[in-house]
């Protein structure tokens, strides 16, 4: 694997997902909106990346395109060795099922299923037997052992999001995406969930990409990418909450003066 210009030199691990010259344009002519403007970015294996940026910067769109949830106008996206641009819906679905884990802001658990059933849902869909040992590791890590038989309505928000984290991890995906995973949680539960995400990277060697607007959440990541107006404008390694906040303020003031 070669490193891209934006990548830092001291890490030369494999790339889990890569966007090259990725553009997404809505509408035509006068009403044309450029959501992503020739974005090139790598997400390396075993790294926790946060994507930040003001509303409308395209951070969610970038994640959706890389995760195979949304189509893009030009450029290319690869998950591992697979180019997403040429995939049909069925193949994309299969890719999401087998190689990608998702954590949503609104938990999105099935209310009819127990916690355990929700966790194994992606494997059930694929018709695969879950890896027992791995599953136990994951469940223990998120601390749900005692609540596996509960239904989502019987769990607190934090517990529900832990189920969602476990679900994303359960199938040992190549890459996990989180869309504001702490957006609906109080700060303590949020911190717990972020801790699990970081642990899954540190201890289990997972790859995590998270969209957030919370500098504290971003400080859990190894790397922060800043987006504005559909372009990557900056990158920060080993971020701290204060550092991220300062950087954000900087954009804000720039945005205001320009």
């Amino acid at each position: 694997m070669t490193t891209t210009p934006t990548a830092t030199a001291h890490r030369t691990t494999a790339v889990a997902a890569r966007a090259t010259e990725l553009s997404k344009v809505y509408g035509q002519g006068e009403t044309q909106v450029v959501a992503l403007d020739r974005v090139t970015v790598d997400f390396r294996q075993g790294e926790f990346t946060a994507i930040m940026g003001p509303s409308g910067s395209g951070k969610s769109t970038l994640m959706h395109c890389v995760a195979g949830l949304d189509s893009f106008s030009s450029g290319s996206v690869r998950i591992g060795e697979t180019e997403l641009g040429t995939l049909k819906d069925k193949q994309l679905t299969q890719l999401r099922r087998d190689k990608i884990g998702f954590i949503f802001q609104a938990f999105n658990l099935l209310p009819t299923l127990t916690a355990a059933e929700n966790i194994t849902l992606p494997m059930d869909i694929a018709g695969r037997k879950p890896d027992k040992e791995w599953l136990n590791t994951v469940i223990e890590m998120v601390g749900l052992s005692g609540r596996l038989k509960h239904r989502p309505t019987e769990l607190s928000g934090g517990q529900q999001q832990r189920v969602a984290v476990a679900r994303a991890l359960a199938s040992r995906p190549e890459i996990m995406f989180g869309d504001e995973p702490t957006g609906n949680l109080d700060s303590r539960s949020g911190a717990e969930v972020l801790g699990f995400l970081r642990n899954s990277v540190r201890e289990l060697g997972q790859t995590v990409v998270m969209v957030t607007h919370d500098p504290v959440a971003a400080s859990y990541a190894d790397r922060v990418i800043f987006l504005a107006d559909g372009r990557i404008v900056d990158e920060m390694l080993h971020p701290t909450a204060d550092g991220v906040l300062d950087r954000m303020k900087e954009f804000d003031s720039k945005g205001r003066t320009s």
Binding site: R96, T112, L121, P122, R167
Partner: protein, 849 residues
């Protein structure tokens, strides 16, 4: 409030679509029925009014006079009064313009294949009665000319068209058993009542008609008044010369009677149809209630906001009801228009299928439109009333809750208790009806059936759990989608239940009717054929008596092993009125097998008889006793009883040798002839009988199979009509399944999006919705079939009291068909909701509320 309601209707167009369709179909059924029966009734009346054009006064035998009942035999002996002499006298009356004598009777016309034309009830023969100009005003010849001599006939144009007969060709027909070859002299149009009703009419010349139809006088003499003479005046004139036992009736009053009869018939027909329309509308209520319940649940916040800013409970309820009113109004108008279309379509469909409804303008009574509107609006508002009440109960504070209000999970305890009580009452009433038996038990049974059905509807949510648990193994092979479908169908038990109930109602009725009808068919079959040892029965196609010559011919046939006539006289044993069947005593043992409690048919010669148990018990008769039988003619005979047997509806009364019966008959005729062939039934055997009887279209030769088929055909026809009528209720129930699934998909948008995001592909999403649909449909089908069999059993036990051969038949084949059809319905109903579910964008899941 009105504006809010209007906005809501417009905003939820798609979600209200199924509701509108359901109400529309129900209203269309009602208005279609009304328009159709008005139109057809009107057309028949116009047509029949025309058929009285030539009648100012009709002279008829006085039927109101009490006379002995034994029919034609007596008439034959009476001195003829409606004769040519009377006709002449009437003709000479001042004020009489023209006079027509009319005779008609059963005439079997053979088609080109030798088969009887049309049904046996509608094949009539009549006289052509030419006036001074040589024309008969009743018949309008389009081809050829009227029959003028024996050997010539004319056919009505529809019969000619149907059979392909042309002027100059010859046709065979029979009126009294002999077959004659006739030449077709002409083809005519007529407004004759039986032709209008779809029968066929053969015309003879006047003299031949009387002879062929066995008449010694006219059936009726019709007088047309001269210009300037009123019908009343003419009637007074006619009455002066009226012979005994006849009456003169004005044409107007005949037409009025006919009108009244047509009105009665069409209103009976429309009542039956409206009954089924009512069922369809009732089924529709479930869909409307479901839809409004969902709309209210989805608008909880909005309605709470209205309450918070000061709307009263009543205003909230009213806004929901106004919405229902608008929906009902739109659906009713659409339904009314569709109903008119149905009425037009129905008429051409019936004519296309060989029916013959007269032409006439479409009659849309203002009342019909009014009824359609009222029904559409009332039904919709009634169904929306409960959801409206529930909407009013939403507390204003619900507006402040940030969380999306989940559908309230109210306990089913009250509902289940009510359901159980109602069902138990129903079962109690039903069993009481069964125990009481006969017609006394019927009201209890009907009440019980209705209560059980209502109880079952109330209890469906409770029943849904065990049912869905029971089908779980069937869903296993579908893996995770099966599991999700199962759980989804349990998620809103009320909605699942009312969706399934809608389907249940139709299937309950269909199943119970199928069970009763097929059991009845089986019972009649047994009755008709079990006691029959003969290979063939020979009778007249119109069930008139057969000439004894038929039996003589058959007895002489070398292929025939045994044969016996059945000729019936009536008599009294003690005080019991009974039929006395004359048979060939030596042969009858080979032709009939009676269910003897003592004795047998052996030795039925001389003055002997066998008696049925009913008569024997009433009169305390035993085998070996001698009973005195007093015949209709007043003479008595003493008969020795050699056997006692169990009767049924078809075989009962006394059986004695023909020699005992013959002296007491006015005219010796046979009801039927029983024939046993040397080689049993075969095409050749049948052909030999047909040939021996001169290839006569008027004579019906049936083996057991043909008798069964005749019974089965009639019952199947009736069942198919019922299926057709209940089909609308089922169709509406299917719309309900579509509706429920569409709602489910709409409500679970986020979940489905999430499932898509984490890797459920489109076909699996479709499968999930489809399976849920099949589960709901099968649930309704299982309930309906189960309840239908139970009610069929109950109704059957009432029948079994009076019909001894009745035993319940469970038509496993048909029930399997119903189940498969229900599963297919599920798949079909899921098509649109499944498609829209599969098209959902996974991104919808990620977007927070």
């Amino acid at each position: 409030m009105f504006r809010t309601a209007l906005r809501n209707v417009l905003a939820h167009k798609a979600r209200l679509l199924m509701t509108v369709l359901a109400v529309m179909l129900g209203v269309a059924f009602v208005s279609g029925t009304l328009v159709f029966s008005d139109t057809v009734g009107n057309a028949f009346k116009n047509k029949s009014a025309k058929s009285f054009d030539h009648v100012s006064v009709a002279i008829q035998p006085d039927h109101s006079r009490p006379s002995d009942s034994s029919g034609s035999a007596q008439d034959a002996k009476k001195k003829p009064v409606l004769t040519d002499a009377l006709l002449k006298k009437v003709q000479d009356l001042p004020g009489a313009a023209s006079v027509i004598g009319d005779v008609s009777g059963f005439t079997a016309l053979a088609d080109k294949n030798g088969k009887l034309v049309g049904q046996d009830w509608g094949t009539t023969g009549a006289n052509h009665f030419p006036g001074p100009d040589g024309k008969d005003v009743r018949y309008d010849f389009t081809e050829g000319s009227a029959p003028k001599r024996a050997g010539e006939i004319a056919l009505d144009s529809r019969t000619a068209e149907r059979t392909g007969y042309k002027v100059g060709e010859s046709a065979r027909l029979s009126t009294d058993g002999r077959v004659t070859q006739q030449t077709i002299s002409g083809i005519f149009d007529t407004s004759n009542g039986s032709v209008v009703a779809g029968g066929s009419l053969v015309l003879f010349d006047n003299a031949t008609a009387a002879k062929a139809l066995g008449k010694t006088e006219y059936d009726e003499i019709d007088v047309k008044a001269a210009a300037g003479t009123s019908q009343q005046a003419l009637r007074s004139a006619v009455e002066k010369i009226l012979p005994k036992d006849t009456v003169a009736v004005t044409g107007d009053s005949l037409a009025a009677d006919q009108d009244a009869m047509i009105t009665q018939q069409t209103s009976t027909m429309s009542q039956v149809l409206l009954y089924f329309a009512g069922i369809s509308l009732f089924v529709g209520i479930f869909i409307i209630a479901n839809t409004f319940t969902m709309l209210v649940a989805q608008r909880t916040k909005e309605l709470a906001l209205l309450r918070a800013i000061g709307a009263s409970r009543r205003q909230v309820t009213r806004s929901v009801l106004i919405e229902a009113l608008l929906v009902g109004l739109i659906a009713a108008v659409a339904g009314f228009v569709l109903g008119i279309g149905i009425a037009i379509g129905l008429r051409s469909a019936i004519n296309g299928l060989g029916g013959s409804l007269p032409d006439g303008p479409l009659v849309i009574a203002p009342m019909t439109g009014f009824v359609a509107l009222i029904i559409g609006v009332v039904v919709t508002m009634l169904a929306a009333w409960l959801p409206g009440r529930r909407a009013a109960k939403i507390p204003p504070v619900a507006a402040m809750n940030s969380v999306h209000a989940s559908p309230t999970v109210r306990g089913l305890v009250v509902r289940n208790t009510i359901g159980s009580v109602v069902a138990a009452l129903g079962a109690g009433s039903l069993f009481m009806g069964v125990a009481t038996g006969g017609s006394d038990g019927m009201p209890f049974m009907a009440l019980g059936a209705a209560l059980i059905l209502i109880g079952a509807i109330v209890l469906t949510p409770l029943l849904s759990r065990p049912f869905i648990a029971a089908v779980t193994p069937l869903l296993k092979p579908f893996g995770v989608t099966g599991k999700l479908a199962r759980q989804n169908s349990l998620r809103n038990p009320r909605r699942t239940a009312s969706t399934a109930s809608a389907l249940m109602i139709g299937l309950t009725l269909i199943t119970s009717m199928t069970v009763v009808a097929l059991s009845m068919q089986n019972a009649i079959n047994k009755m008709a054929t079990a006691s029959l040892k003969a290979d063939y029965t020979v009778s007249m196609a119109n069930y008139q008596p057969l000439s004894p010559a038929v039996h003589k011919k058959l007895a002489a046939l070398p292929e025939v092993a045994a044969s016996s006539p059945m000729r019936t006289a009536y008599g009294e044993i003690g005080g019991v009125f009974s039929s006395v069947n004359g048979v060939d005593g030596k042969r009858v043992g080979d032709l009939l097998s009676l269910d003897f409690t003592s004795g047998s048919l052996d030795g039925l010669t001389g003055n002997t008889t066998v008696v049925d148990t009913t008569t024997a018990e009433k009169e305390g008769l035993k085998r070996g006793d001698t009973a005195s039988v007093k015949f209709d003619d007043g003479k008595s005979v003493r008969l020795k009883i050699i056997g006692i047997y169990e009767p049924n509806e078809m075989i009962n009364g006394l059986f004695t040798p023909t020699a005992v019966v013959d002296p007491h008959l006015e005219k010796i005729t046979d009801q039927q002839v029983l024939v046993k062939m040397k080689g049993g039934t075969s095409d050749r055997a049948e052909a030999s009988i047909v040939k021996a009887l001169g290839d006569n279209p008027a004579i019906k030769i049936q083996d057991k199979q043909a008798i069964s088929d005749e019974v089965g055909g009639a019952i199947n026809l009736m069942l198919n009509m019922l299926y057709g009528l209940l089909g609308m209720a089922v169709l509406i129930a299917v719309l309900g399944v579509v509706n429920t699934l569409a709602m489910s998909v709409f409500e679970r948008k986020h979940e489905i999006g999430m499932l898509r995001a984490i890797g459920l592909d489109r076909s699996k999403v479709k499968q999930m919705v489809r399976l849920e649909s099949v589960v709901i449909s099968l649930f309704g089908a299982v309930l309906g079939v189960g309840l239908g069999i139970f009610l069929g059993w109950a109704a059957g036990s009432g029948i079994a009291d009076s019909v001894k051969t009745y035993s319940m038949q469970i038509p496993a084949g048909r029930i399997a068909v119903f189940m498969v059809a229900a599963a297919l319905v599920g798949v079909l109903a899921a098509m649109w909701p499944a498609r829209s579910a599969a098209r959902l964008n996974p991104l919808a899941a990620i977007k927070a509320e």
